[in-house]
Structures are given as C-alpha cells and as structure tokens.
Symmetry: C2
Subunit: 185 residues, 2 copies
Amino acid sequence: MTTRDTILQAALERFARVGYLGSSIQQIADDVGTSKSSVLYHFDSKEALLEAAMAPALDAMESLIDALPELRHEHTAAAPGLVTRFVDTLMAHSAAISIFISQRGALQGVPAIERANAIVDAIARTLVLEAPTPRVLTRLSIGLAGVAFILGDTLSTEHDHLDPHEMRAIFIETLLELSSTGEDA
Amino acid sequence: MTTRDTILQAALERFARVGYLGSSIQQIADDVGTSKSSVLYHFDSKEALLEAAMAPALDAMESLIDALPELRHEHTAAAPGLVTRFVDTLMAHSAAISIFISQRGALQGVPAIERANAIVDAIARTLVLEAPTPRVLTRLSIGLAGVAFILGDTLSTEHDHLDPHEMRAIFIETLLELSSTGEDA
DNA sequence: TCGACTTCTGACCGATCGGTCAGTACGATG
DNA sequence: CATCGTACTGACCGATCGGTCAGAAGTCGA
C-alpha cells in the first residue's frame, strides 16, 4: 500500500474515533510513522485530507441514489432490496458515515460535509415522494440515525458487539418496520 | 439571570451546536458579552464548564434510573409510562443529550462524559434484566440513538421541524414499538 | 554524468488555544 | 473611613495548531 493510502486510512479511522477537530495532522503522521510535512505533501490541507478520506463513501452513496428511482417502483413503500443495499453501503463505509452523522454540526462549511448534506437532501427528497407523512419520515430518520450511530459506536469502543451478520439482519428488519406506516398494515 | 447562569446556557448551546472541541472559551465569552477571564473566574477550566453545563441533564437521568425499578414491574417489557418519562427527560435536556451522543467518542476521559457513560451502562444493565436478547437491545439502541440524534439536529439546524408535541408522540410510539420483540405479538 | 521528478523531512511561521496572575471597581460591613 | 469579599479585566504565558519552505535523498531517462 502506498504511503498516501496508509495516511488516508489512518486519518479516516482517527477522524471517526476522536473527531476531526480532535485529530491533529501530527497525530495522524505518528500513526503511520511519517512526518507532518509528509502528510501535507500528499494532501494540500487537513480539509483536503478529510475530503479524500470520505470520498469513497460519498461516491458509493451517490451511486446508490442514482439507482434509487429504479429500485423504488418495485413497491410503493421502501423496498426490501433498497433497504438491504442501503444497509450494506452504510456498513461498508461505517467510518465515514459515523464522521458525518456525529460531526456535521461542527463541520458546517467543510466541502466534504456539504457534499454529504446534499446527498442526505437528495435521499429525503426522493423518499418524500412516496412517504408524504412527516410521521413516517421521522420514523425513518430515527432508524437511519440510530443505525449510523451504532456503526460508529462499534468503531470507537471496544464493547462486546454482536457479529456483523446478525447486526445487518436486525438493521434491515428494523428499518423496514420503521418505513411502514406504523400501527399496522 | 446571573452571569454564571448566562455563561452556562451559552456554553451548553455552543457545545451542542459546534462541539466542545470546536468551541473556545473566548467565543463563549463573546456570546454573553464578557471576557475570557470572566468565564474562567466562574469556572475553573473548560472541562469544569462542560461538567457544570451537563450536570442538570445527568442529574435528571440519574433520578430517572433510580425510579426505574419501580416503574418496570408494571409490565415485563418497557412500560409506556417509563418510555414517556424517558422521552420527556431527553427532550427537556436535548442539548446535553446531543453533546453526549455525538461527542462521547472524542471526549473520552472527560469527567462529565464518563459520568454519562456510567448512566448509560446502568440503563443497559437494568434493561438487560428483562430484555435478554441482543436483538431487542440493538433495536432499542437504534431507537434511543435515533431519537437523541434528531433532538440534536433540531438544535443545530434551522430546517423546518415538525412541532414538538407531534415529535414527542412519534418518539414514544416508535420506541415502544422497537422495545417489543419485533415481528408480532 | 547530468538534470528532472517524486518523496520526504526539519526548521520555522503566525495564530489561537487553555490557563495564570496582578490589579481594578464596587457594594456591604465594621 | 477603612476593610473585605465578589466580580471582573487585560496582559501575558507555554503549548499546540495548520501550514510554508528550502533542501536532502533516491530514482529515473537522456
């Protein structure tokens, strides 16, 4: 693996664990055994480093949005296939997702976070088309935020976590349940 | 209101909006129209300020825990009364709750956060007694984290949010649903 | 052998951080 | 009037922050 990729990985992990503001370039350099100057050679700034670290996750989410219109006419409400793909994408990029969820308030104005905000808006916009009640939307927000939070938690704590497959199943099932109207069918 | 209380309120709001690490004592002083030295006169340190700002929320949560054993034998699973009280407490202290939820990773070792961690552990411990499956526990975590996240979001963004009463009802209903075994009764 | 390019480093910069300290203004108390 | 405690302030401190820069070391093709 190239030095650049090593830095990218260490930065993503550290940003997720102790926060972007709580991480210094020096600490990231120490993590990978290089110098602060080396980090700033590969990336123009700390912000650029964050952007590069989050890019794969944002790319994946954007391509999921592009595929969303084709997936949703499968059912009127959220289709199981859509939710499954969503959960898989979240879990594949849990570090970046966790950074966005818990730090987007503190990082307003940072390009990478603004891009992620736009993605969330796009998701909400397409969901609103088929889930007009604020009730279902709120329920879905609870579910998505909760799932994202737990993913971040598994990264930053060494608690005993249940195995990823079980977690995945619970996530999918719970999100589907929350995306239904609620009371009963 | 005393200067001390004004500082406390401004600090709580700022910590919730842009993060503890993203807030400087100078900025908080500017918010209330006083000097950095004045803030440090009323509070020994930035950490002490955080602790004092979060204390009311933590006190409320602790007293809720104390009342928990008496409330739970009402039903085997989470009782509606318990959930309602829980949601009300969360909403009454949304700023402090939001700080804990989204920044406890970055603030490990800070006394106020350690105290909050202990509270969460206590809640989990009492819940485990009656909800032994990791499945229900995960579902509850999703719900609680999701609710807490939304509360923080309403503070830090100027989005159009639905009215608190509606939100409260959805929170309670959703949490009760998630605390059930799932599939059906 | 000679540049040219990439990778990387240590020295250094101004700004800001949390925190200390000596001192000031002032109302209450004797 | 003198004294004391409370509230508050500006000057200052060392440390760390993100970022710049000149140059060293190694690897190329010409």
